[in-house]
């Protein structure tokens, strides 16, 4: 167990709903759910294998105090950010944002599933776009393919070769980006200073919440 996780578990004892309400972004909405299931029926990934719990089930599990099952679930990471649940919810729960919020909290306290591919993409994407202020699509793709090592990376790259070739031919993939010849912001220094401050304030907010 990570320190932060232990601390949170101790702080909230058996009141997991309160923990989510106070610690997860948009978590205060969970209690508004009336269990109609419209979110689950609207989710495009619900119809595919590998989904532990649809949103309304997760919300009930939070109320029932099933802390480990919720935090370790892969369900939140299945979100495609399509906002179908969000616009259909009769109680106006911003389900998409709640799912992101629970996922982020589980990740922050070290309880989210290891090697979850969309979790990896989330980190990779943010690191990529904040490095120079703009996305380097080639480096992003490379770091996704090679996340499980060189062997599997080469295999994935080979499988995707025809997709890449098509894009290169259409001038929509610039291989020079691989060596850093790519679009960048001019004031990278300013962006990094701004983000350092934002990260500092964000950490402070979260620490205050944890101590409150």
């Amino acid at each position: 167990m990570s320190d932060l996780n232990q601390k949170m578990a101790a702080k909230y004892q058996n009141n997991f709903l309160k923990e989510i309400e106070e610690q997860a972004e948009m978590g205060e909405w969970v209690k508004m759910c009336m269990q109609c299931g419209l979110c689950s029926g609207s989710c495009p990934t619900n119809f595919q294998a590998g989904w532990d719990h649809p949103p309304q089930e997760l919300f009930m599990m939070i109320r029932a105090g099933k802390r480990d099952e919720v935090l370790k679930s892969n369900s939140m990471w299945m979100c495609t950010s399509c906002y179908n649940c969000y616009v259909r919810c009769p109680r106006k729960v911003p389900v998409t944002h709640v799912m992101h919020g629970i996922a982020e909290y589980a990740y922050r306290i070290g309880q989210s599933p290891k090697n979850q591919p969309t979790q990896h993409l989330s980190k990779t994407f943010w690191d990529n776009c904040t490095k120079t202020g703009r996305v380097n699509e080639v480096k992003l793709t490379q770091s996704l393919y090679f996340k499980d090592g060189i062997g599997s990376g080469i295999k994935k790259a080979m499988e995707m070769q025809s997709v890449a070739l098509g894009l290169v031919k259409a001038k929509r993939l610039n291989l020079l980006e691989a060596v850093g010849i790519a679009h960048k912001c001019k004031d990278i220094k300013g962006i990094h200073a701004m983000l350092a401050k934002a990260n500092e304030l964000e950490a402070k907010r979260k620490a205050e919440k944890a101590e409150a």
Partner: protein, 298 residues
């Protein structure tokens, strides 16, 4: 002076050599005909997209968007921000909404911006290019410059998610928005019945969980064929790329024979306004739109 002027936020994917560079080329051609002046926000940055949620945290993500607001306000005062990418539009609008409703968040954002020598006074309005077309100009104005209507061509109008939800286009329903069909008809094409109009293409999961995304993409393409479409049209860069570039992989996996071009509305409009294949960036389509290439050459 141009009829309309905007602060343009093209987004990462629309840059030269990036995955939606053909979107930018065709938007520029379309705007030239419509006498819309788009001035790029100097040194704009990435919106962070939706998928960065786990790593970014709320404030850093909003600070990134706020930087664009401050740069637009400082350099292009009084102009609305226009995004062509669904994710840029959504990220900006969501940030604007949260900043305007949460003074604590706004105060912290200003502290972060100060480190980059910037500040926000008033956040500009944020529009999608489609809103500029149908709200600021209107279908009648869009129809006037049509020189070569796309008569007899059948399109499936694929609206997708983030241009439609959660904000959407004013007056349109989330379940069956009609604006894209109307745009197709405005330039003389036929919008076929299309029951996967607002289905998700998988978004970022096309990278992280390709099997899941491709299963969704398969349904989206199948329904276009079922409706009798020859081509798919979309307003979103990620929808365009996902539905276009994985057709080969889907064919291999499912034994289908998909080979359907996926275009931007701006490409259709450029062609109907008499633009060349080059101006419509038809060479930027991986699945070539042969019928439109011939049409442009006539």
């Amino acid at each position: 002076m141009a009829r309309k002027e905007y602060a343009f936020y093209p987004g990462c994917s629309s840059q030269k050599g990036a995955s939606a560079s053909n979107y930018l080329t065709s938007v520029e051609s379309m705007c030239k005909t419509l006498d819309i002046k788009m001035t790029e926000i100097p040194d704009w940055n990435c919106c962070g997209a939706s998928v960065s949620y786990a790593e970014s945290g709320e404030l850093p993500r909003i600070a990134m968007n706020a930087r664009n607001f401050a740069l637009a306000e400082e350099n292009l005062p009084g102009q609305d921000i226009v995004a062509t990418c669904a994710a840029c539009w959504l990220g900006s609008r969501e940030s604007k909404e949260r900043l305007e409703h949460n003074s604590g968040l706004m105060a912290d954002t200003q502290l972060a911006l100060k480190e980059a020598g910037l500040q926000i006074k008033v956040i500009p309005e944020i529009k999608h290019m489609v809103e500029v077309l149908i709200e600021d100009l209107g279908y009648d104005e869009l129809k006037k410059p049509v020189k070569k209507p796309l008569n007899g061509m059948k399109f499936a109008g694929y609206v997708g998610c983030q241009t439609n939800r959660p904000f959407g286009i004013s007056g349109e329903s989330f379940e069956n928005p009609m604006y894209l069909d109307k745009l197709i008809e405005t330039v003389g094409g036929e919008a076929v019945p299309y029951d996967q109009k607002v289905t998700c293409c998988g978004g970022a999961l096309a990278f992280s969980e390709p099997e899941k995304a491709q299963a969704q993409i398969k349904d989206i393409i199948e329904a276009a064929y079922d409706g009798g479409a020859e081509m798919i049209v979309t307003p979103c860069p990620l929808c365009q790329a996902n539905v276009e570039v994985y057709q080969g992989s889907i064919n291999k996996k499912y034994g289908t024979k998909f080979d359907i071009p996926v275009l931007y509305y701006s490409q259709l409009m450029t062609l109907a306004y008499g633009g060349s294949a080059k101006e419509a960036a038809l060479d930027g389509n991986v699945v070539r739109a042969r019928k439109l290439e011939e049409f442009a050459g006539k």
